[in-house]
Symmetry: C2
């Protein structure tokens, strides 16, 4: 182990109640730029900090607001026919996190996003960090998907889910609430897919 | 913690020297299906186990062969003008892994893949599991990127890299060799992007 350098994140760390999601929306059509920018503009980001870079967009804020904003983005982006995927990293508690880049209001907003329904194929991996009993935590998360009838089955390095977009995001909310309560630092890595020719 | 259920992966586990990569290639054009299938066909998969499902493709085998096959796929898929991303999860050592789905030859093959060069934008996150000193391991991996002049900077929940495709995959190989030697169970999550209008 090389120890002659400081941590790249030296001096960081936060006690604030900040959950984040870094996501990349991939739209499989020629005019993907218009499609992505249009979806991003439709999201009510008053309750999250939002930043788009060359690889992805990041939302930060209260966990409820972050999950809600990602759900709103995904629903806004789906035109019901174009194949698209959303790769998203929900996370909280990294020791390298900063006090900066947070929204003014950290409390959850009450409004629920739209009630649109459509089927989504999904894979996820759950990474509870710094703990020896992490497989117990992963088992809890997988078993909850089984209980909700979202579970398709295991596959190498991920768990596959299928379900309505509303049910999936309700499950994500519950996972992140559970993780927030039980785990200091966690990552919930998810990929959503709609309108894929592979699933027809 | 709910303890009334068995692990979904009960009975699994392997002592075999199997590294895996589960990846999704997103091609931002109308005829993405042809583009993806054509790239997959060009990869020499004689030294990896390969399986494509509705969400992604998985390669399993010796770590060298797996990284090599993913590199070959990414180079084959890049036509130099179409924006595409590759989201890939390199991993080894999951207690829920199986003895199955391995190639006949686990030894590394000697042939190097093609010498094509092009710039790639990249983000990665490294997750060493079941260990309290995981931030030390992450620091090593980030510092190695700094040493190789691949480091762009930190961003929320990921580290950004930029470099030639050959240098990036050489770095991935070194990270996975390091992780294989020092960490029982690790995940190296990476997203590569080429020909993006956001980087011009």
């Amino acid at each position: 182990m090389e120890k002659n350098k400081q941590y790249p994140w030296s001096g960081c760390g936060t006690n604030k109640d900040i959950t984040g999601c870094r996501f990349s929306l991939s739209v499989m059509r020629d005019d993907y730029v218009r499609h992505i920018l249009s979806a991003l503009k439709q999201v009510d980001t008053r309750h999250v900090w939002s930043h788009t870079d060359a690889l992805s967009t990041t939302y930060r804020g209260h966990k409820f607001n972050v999950v809600n904003a990602v759900k709103e983005l995904f629903i806004a982006a789906n035109d019901g026919k174009t194949h698209m995927t959303l790769e998203a990293t929900f996370t909280k508690g990294c020791p390298g996190d900063t006090e900066a880049d947070i929204p003014l209001a950290l409390s959850p907003k009450e409004k629920e996003v739209q009630e649109k329904k459509f089927d989504v194929l999904c894979k996820f991996s759950f990474y509870p960090m710094g703990s020896n009993d992490y497989m117990d935590q992963i088992a809890y998360v997988v078993n909850l998907a089984i209980d909700r009838n979202l579970y398709v089955g295991p596959s190498h390095y991920a768990t596959e889910l299928k379900g309505d977009v509303q049910d999936l995001f309700a499950y994500f909310n519950d996972i992140i609430n559970y993780a927030d309560e039980h785990i200091d630092h966690f990552i919930y890595q998810v990929t959503l897919s709609v309108n894929s020719p592979s699933t027809q």
